[in-house]
Each structure stands twice: as structure tokens, then as C-alpha cells.
Amino acid sequence: MHESATAADVREAAPGVCVIDITGDVTAASEEALVAAYDDASARGARAIVLSFAGLAYMNSGGIGLIVMLLVRAQRADQRVLAYGLSGHYRQIFELTRLDEAVAIHDSEQDALRVASAMG
């Protein structure tokens, strides 16, 4: 009954830029879905990965740990991570955990993609 329902779909938004559309929950139980999406994006040669939280229903500390894990991997692979679509509440959580210093948070997909493409 309480299985985490996470969908993480990857799409190539621009050359070298992949968006991961996250829908549902981000908890410790989302590891498989998120890691698979990250691997998929990396396999497509993404230099910048944009996390879309527009479909996020619920995120807990386990999910934050998972995002940190992805950040560590992205850092090692020299990839940039951006995000958009966070609600005010989760934006606050990104700020107080200082995750916002490692993930560039944007208001819209357009903004995130413009920055990601410019980093080229």
C-alpha cells in the first residue's frame, strides 16, 4: 500500500541537455527509478541534467539523500544539475539543506534550459 510511486522520464531537451521529469514521490524507495533515469541521461551524453519537480507529490529526507547521491555522481562525471518546478515548500527545504547551492534552481523549464544550454 505504501510503495513509493515514482516516475522519472528522461527527454533530451537540447544537445547535451536532458530533462528528467519526476512525477510522484521522491523517497528512499525512488532510488531505482531515479538512478535509472540518471544513467539514461548520462548514456545520452548529457552534460547538464535538469530535474523537473513540476509533478512532485511528496519528498522526504530519504529523497533528499537520494538527490545528494545523484549530485555526487554528477559532480564526478563533470555534469551540471539544475532544477525547476519546486513548490515554495520544497524550495524552502532546498534552501535550508543548502541543496540550492549545488543545484541551480529555476522558476521555469525555459529558464533552466536557457542556462543549461549556455553552459554548453
Partner: protein, 547 residues
């Protein structure tokens, strides 16, 4: 030699074989078949006269020579089938071999026909065995699916029943729930209400299995949420009905009795949505708690009559489901209301009354009888003459009102229920949206902590959650208690994003930081129940706090 195109045989459902068979027929003649793609088998409708003809013929039939008004026969001719050989096993037509013209274009000889009949006679039993094996496999798969569904239904049901009943000073409260093998939709609930009042619920959803369990869980959730907001039992049922009606599946509804007890005075106010009438044993005999009302989920705009009665010391109430009165003896006699009423009149109260009813029911249905429907009882007896426990949540809580109190098994992911339960409980306080979001995150994290660290993910060890409101102090307090009794856990390291990104700290470990950042105060205490983490929210917050 004949050109045997192919035998097309399909499983015939056993229950249909008795009346008719939709025996499929093979594609057309080889000469034609060589040049044409194979066609779909010809379906013979159950009422097609060809079916009876083939079944009776028992030998190869010349399709061209047949004189029958049969759609299937026309189709066979169109497919250029010349000979149809019935495959009959144990007197049942189970398929047909269909053949086109001979390669030589000559008619089939009597030798050919004998050979075909022989072949059909040998093939039919083997084919039937194959069909039976397939049928059995399909039945086994269906049975397995059914059992899985029952298990899911049982899990849902059990999950939404109270794990333990509140301790009401001066009252004996006991409950019993036993699902039938094919789980029904019974439920009961005991809801702590403001001012020390207690909501008592017994209900029954029509239908069985997963659909009933889902409707039951929805009803119980809506009822709980409504009961803590509204006072009058009739109004509560009205609201529940309005919420249930739009989404209620067709032909389903819920019967439900809802009563509100004031333990201190013995006043029981109740309303009934078409549920079996409860009995009260009083000094003057057994009385029925009657109140008019339609079952929930049928029609909107329903009103529910409200009645009340004062339970005197010694009085005993039994709320029950129809699984008791509709149980049958081996001679099909029904247990019935009069017998239950008499048992209540004889019996004591509380758990003993439940035991007496069960013993009487078992004696009535006979040894080894399978229980036909869920059996649910909620038994309440006023035992003491002294005034019952006061409304306060506990010593030192002053004006605190308990908005909700519930328990969850220590299963990862259950924190979602905790936050949902707390959100429902505080719905009447009109928190600012951002404050509510922060409370939900804090409750979820505190519950995760209790599940994982306090109770070590052992499902049977419950996490208890209590929501208290102190209007005079403008405080909301949520207590999350696990079952641990060990010493204090070592203080976890303060999470640091730089250290985590550098790999010198694990990526996880954000829970406590979140909890402390989301609420105004946190307090940790230990008691006989275990460790409690209390989250305190100041209700007169920043008026601009609306994100």
C-alpha cells in the same frame, strides 16, 4: 490422397458444452489454401442447426450435400470446405476437422472417409485431454488471482481497524472482528473526540473483496475527518453521505451506525444509516437503539434522525453487523434478531458479552461451519458509578483537546499516513498553507524516525501519534511515540552539504534538521510507552505566511 488442411480446435467452455458449442472450423481447401492466406476459424453459433447435426452425425459429413438453413454452413461453403469431420469425445462435440477438395479434384472415396472417421475417433480423446489440461491451468490461475485479491482485501480491512481501543475510565469497551473467507466490508471504529467524548462506529459495505475494502477505507477516513469537526451524529452522517455519493460505485452502499458517547454522563447520542439496530441491556430489559436513516452513498440530500439515551451504570450496549443475525444453522434456520436480543439480555457486558455471543453463534451454526459473512461487534458497558475520566488529554496538558490519536505499524512509507492523519485532524484549525506543509513534513520525518530508529522497522511495533490543540495557548502539539526503551540515541552529526558532496558524510541523514526547521519547538521525552518526540507549532504565526 486427401488434402487435410488442418484441424482447428478450440477449447469449449465446460458449462457451454452442455447446450451448444462454438466449434471452430478450419480454413478452406488445400488447393485454395496454397494460394490464399489462412482464414480465421469459422464460428458456429450455439443455436446454429449445424451444431446439432454434426454432433448427431458422428462421421464425416459432405458439406455440399447438406440441406440446412445454417449461417455456419454457408460460411464453410464460402471457404470451400468439402468435408467436415466431427470430433466427438464422451458424446460432446469438441471440434471439427475441415477439409477442402482433394488435390486430384476427385470426390472423397469411402476409404478416405473411413480413414478420416478413424483419425477423428483417435484424435478427439487426445484433444479433449489437452482441452481439460488447459481448462485446469486457467482455473488454477483464476483461483490464485482470487486468493491474492482476498489477501489484499484482508490487509486493507485490517489496516483500517483500530489497533487498540482507548481506555475509558468507568467503561468497559471491547471489539471483535472476524472476516469471512471471502472478506466482506465490515468495519468498526472508536474515535477520540474533543472534550473527552468518544465516537463509536459500526458499518458494513455491500459487496465483498477489494471493492468493499476500498469503500470501507474511504468511508472510515471521511467519517473520522468529519467526526472530529462536527458534533451532531446525524449531521456527521449527512456529511459523510454527501462526500461518498459522487464516487460510490454502482450498486454499492454503506450501512453505518454512529454514536457519540459522553463517558462522564453516560449520554449516548446516535444516528443510523440503515445499519442493524444495536441492543442495550438495561435494568428494565433489552431496548433497541432505533433511528431512521438511509444507507450512505445511495442518494444525496439525506437527513438522519438523531436519538439519545443515557446509559446507567451496569447498562451494556452491543453494536453488531449482519454476519451474526444472518448466520445459518445446518438446517438453514437463521440466527435472527430475537435470538441476539435474548443473548444480549442474558449476557454480561464488555468482552464477556462478545464471548457469550460468539459461543452461542458457534453452537447455533454447528461445528466446522464456514463463516458466511464478516462478524463485527463493538461492546460497551458502563461499569462504575463514579464520574468518568475528564476530557483533558493527560496531566499537565491543561486545556489540551485531543484532535486525533492513532497508531501505525512500523513499515517504511507509513509516514504518508501519519501526515495525512494529522492533516485531517488539524483541518478545522485553518493553518496557513505553508505552515501546514511544514507541519506535514515534520510529522512525516518524526514518524520515519520512529519507524526506522525507534522501532527498527518491526511492523508489529506501532508508532503512536497524538494531535493536541491548546486553544488558550495557541499551540498545536503532535506527539510521535515509538516503542523503544533503550538509552538515548547518540546525537547524529549535523548534515553538511559540502561534506556530503565531498563524500566525507553519507548522502542521507537530513531528518532531524528538517524536523527542527519545520516547527517552532521540539521536545523529547521518555515514558512507559517509549520515546516521544513532540512537535510544537505556534498557531498565531506570521500573517504573511501564506506561501
Amino acid at each position: 490422397m486427401t488434402a487435410l488442411t488442418r484441424s482447428v480446435l478450440r477449447k469449449l467452455a465446460p458449462r457451454r458444452r452442455a447446450t451448444a458449442a462454438d466449434a471452430p472450423i478450419g480454413p478452406p481447401a488445400a488447393a485454395a489454401a496454397a494460394a490464399q492466406p489462412a482464414r480465421a476459424p469459422v464460428e458456429i453459433a450455439p443455436d446454429d442447426p449445424l451444431l446439432a447435426y454434426l454432433q448427431a452425425a458422428g462421421e464425416a459429413v459432405d458439406v455440399e450435400a447438406l440441406e440446412l438453413d445454417s449461417p455456419a454452413l454457408r460460411e464453410l461453403r464460402a471457404a470451400r470446405v468439402r468435408i467436415a469431420v466431427p470430433l466427438v469425445a464422451q458424446g460432446e462435440l469438441i471440434g471439427v476437422l475441415s477439409l477442402g477438395a482433394r488435390r486430384s479434384e476427385q470426390d472423397y472415396s469411402s476409404d478416405d472417409r473411413r480413414l478420416l472417421d478413424n483419425l477423428a475417433a483417435r484424435a478427439a480423446p487426445a484433444l479433449r485431454v489437452g482441452q481439460l489440461v488447459r481448462e485446469q491451468q486457467a482455473e488454477a490461475a483464476t483461483r490464485q488471482r482470487f486468493e491474492q485479491e482476498l489477501e489484499i482485501a484482508r490487509l486493507i480491512q485490517q489496516h483500517f481497524l483500530p489497533k487498540q481501543l482507548p481506555d475509558l475510565g468507568g467503561w468497559q469497551l471491547a471489539a471483535f472482528y472476524r472476516p469471512a473467507r471471502e472478506v466482506g466490508g465490515d468495519f468498526y471504529d472508536v474515535i477520540p473526540l474533543p472534550d473527552g467524548r468518544v465516537g463509536l462506529v459500526v458499518g458494513d459495505v455491500t459487496d465483498k473483496g477489494v471493492p468493499a475494502a476500498l469503500v470501507m477505507s474511504a468511508t472510515r477516513t471521511i467519517l473520522r475527518a468529519t467526526a472530529t469537526r462536527l458534533v451532531e451524529p446525524g449531521t456527521v452522517l449527512e456529511h459523510v453521505n454527501e462526500h461518498l455519493c459522487p464516487d460510490m460505485p454502482e450498486k454499492m452502499f454503506v450501512t453505518c451506525l454512529y454514536g457519540v458517547l459522553e463517558p462522564a454522563t453516560g449520554l449516548l447520542r446516535f444516528a443510523n444509516a440503515g445499519h442493524d439496530v444495536p441492543y442495550v441491556r438495561t435494568a428494565g430489559g433489552v431496548v433497541e437503539l432505533r433511528a431512521r436513516g438511509m444507507p450512505l452513498g445511495l442518494l444525496t440530500g439525506m437527513a438522519y434522525e438523531e436519538k439519545e439515551m443515557v446509559l446507567a451504570p451496569g447498562d451494556s450496549v452491543l453494536l453488531h453487523s449482519d454476519g451474526i443475525v444472518e448466520a445459518h444453522a445446518p438446517d438453514r434456520e437463521m440466527y435472527g434478531f430475537p435470538r441476539l436480543k435474548a443473548t444480549v439480555g442474558r449476557g454480561p457486558g464488555g468482552q464477556e458479552l462478545i464471548d457469550v455471543v460468539l459461543a452461542d453463534l458457534d453452537a447455533f451454526t454447528g461445528p466446522g461451519a464456514e463463516q458466511e459473512d464478516d462478524i463485527t461487534m463493538l461492546s460497551l458497558q458502563r461499569t462504575a458509578t463514579a464520574a468518568a475520566a475528564p476530557a483533558a488529554a493527560s496531566a499537565g496538558d491543561g486545556d489540551a483537546q485531543v484532535l486525533a490519536e492513532f497508531e501505525l505499524p512500523s513499515v517504511p512509507g507509513n509516514e504518508r499516513q501519519a501526515l495525512a492523519g494529522v492533516a485531517v485532524a488539524v483541518a478545522g484549525l485553518a493553518l496557513a498553507p505553508a505552515q501546514l506543509e511544514r507541519l506535514k513534513t515534520a510529522v512525516a520525518e518524526a514518524t520515519m524516525n520512529a519507524i526506522e530508529h525507534g522501532n527498527e522497522n518491526v511492523a508489529a511495533r506501532a508508532v503512536a501519534i497524538r494531535v493536541l490543540h491548546q486553544p488558550a495557548r495557541a499551540r498545536l502539539r503532535v506527539q510521535v511515540t515509538d516503542g523503544s526503551h533503550g538509552g538515548e540515541l547518540p546525537a547524529p552529526e549535523v548534515p553538511d552539504i559540502d561534506a556530503k558532496l565531498a563524500g566525507t558524510q553519507l548522502p542521507r541523514g537530513w531528518g532531524l534538521l528538517l524536523i527542527e526547521s519545520m516547527v517552532d519547538e521540539t521536545r523529547v521525552s521518555s515514558g512507559p510507552q517509549g520515546h516521544t518526540l513532540e512537535l510544537v507549532l505556534y498557531l498565531e504565526g506570521d500573517p504573511d505566511d501564506d506561501a
